[in-house]
Symmetry: C2
Subunit: 109 residues, 2 copies
DNA sequence: TACTGGTACATCGTAACACCATGTACCAGG
DNA sequence: CCTGGTACATGGTGTTACGATGTACCAGTA
């Protein structure tokens, strides 16, 4: 697929919030989740800064958890503010998405 | 509406391509078009740089046209590369949009 | 004449974001 | 011992939207 970089601005943070809303997860695993979700070229260097941002904005709780294989994990979990941020994200996304859908239909019809 | 800045990254350029695909238009009018399309807070300081970018990428043809009221307009028109860029944009958008739709459905159901 | 307001374009600086490259470190298996 | 998978962190780069600001054209009007 083409370069999605610009279209993913703001979207990936929402996706991470979404993934975390299903229960705790950690950076390395989130990368895999995003890859499975279709964003195949999203890598660690993209996800870790997002997680740090969420932490600084106090949208997540963090816990260090020992791993069976490898270094300890930083397991993130949404708090109330995080859930609110996720809802706000979906609202914004829905807004933009619907406007573009209208634009696109204009021609397709 | 909330701040859509990040979500509009990459999107506005696509919208401008879309608007231009309906025939020639110029900066000041494009701002109005975007506002009518729901992007109410998009202003000139956002649109003019986009138009300059399209011009530099050779996706548009430019013509100076006298205005009945005010300074002359720079009327932009898509060329073949521009139409290809628009199609590529819709492909990328469709891709991202569909992935997020899948994510969102997961919970709503 | 002067002054206002709508039209129209241009640009500088800022902040935010995705991304790449790179580095560190833990651990198991061969 | 050493490779490869796991796991986190960061500095630098490029791209983008956006606010503020400036310039300029023109019509109406007081």
């Amino acid at each position: 697929m083409d370069d999605l970089t610009e279209l993913l601005k703001g979207v990936l943070e929402g996706c991470v919030l979404h993934i975390l809303s299903h229960g705790g997860s950690y950076g390395y695993e989130i990368v895999r989740s995003l890859n499975r979700a279709g964003f195949t070229s999203v890598a660690e260097g993209t996800v870790y800064p997002i997680l740090l941002r969420l932490e600084n904005k106090r949208l997540v709780e963090v816990a260090r958890v020992k791993s069976e294989s490898g270094p300890p994990r930083k397991v993130y979990r949404l708090n109330a503010d995080g859930r609110a941020a996720l809802e706000a994200f979906w609202r914004r996304w829905e807004f933009v998405s619907s406007r573009l859908a209208i634009m696109k239909e204009e021609d397709d019809v």
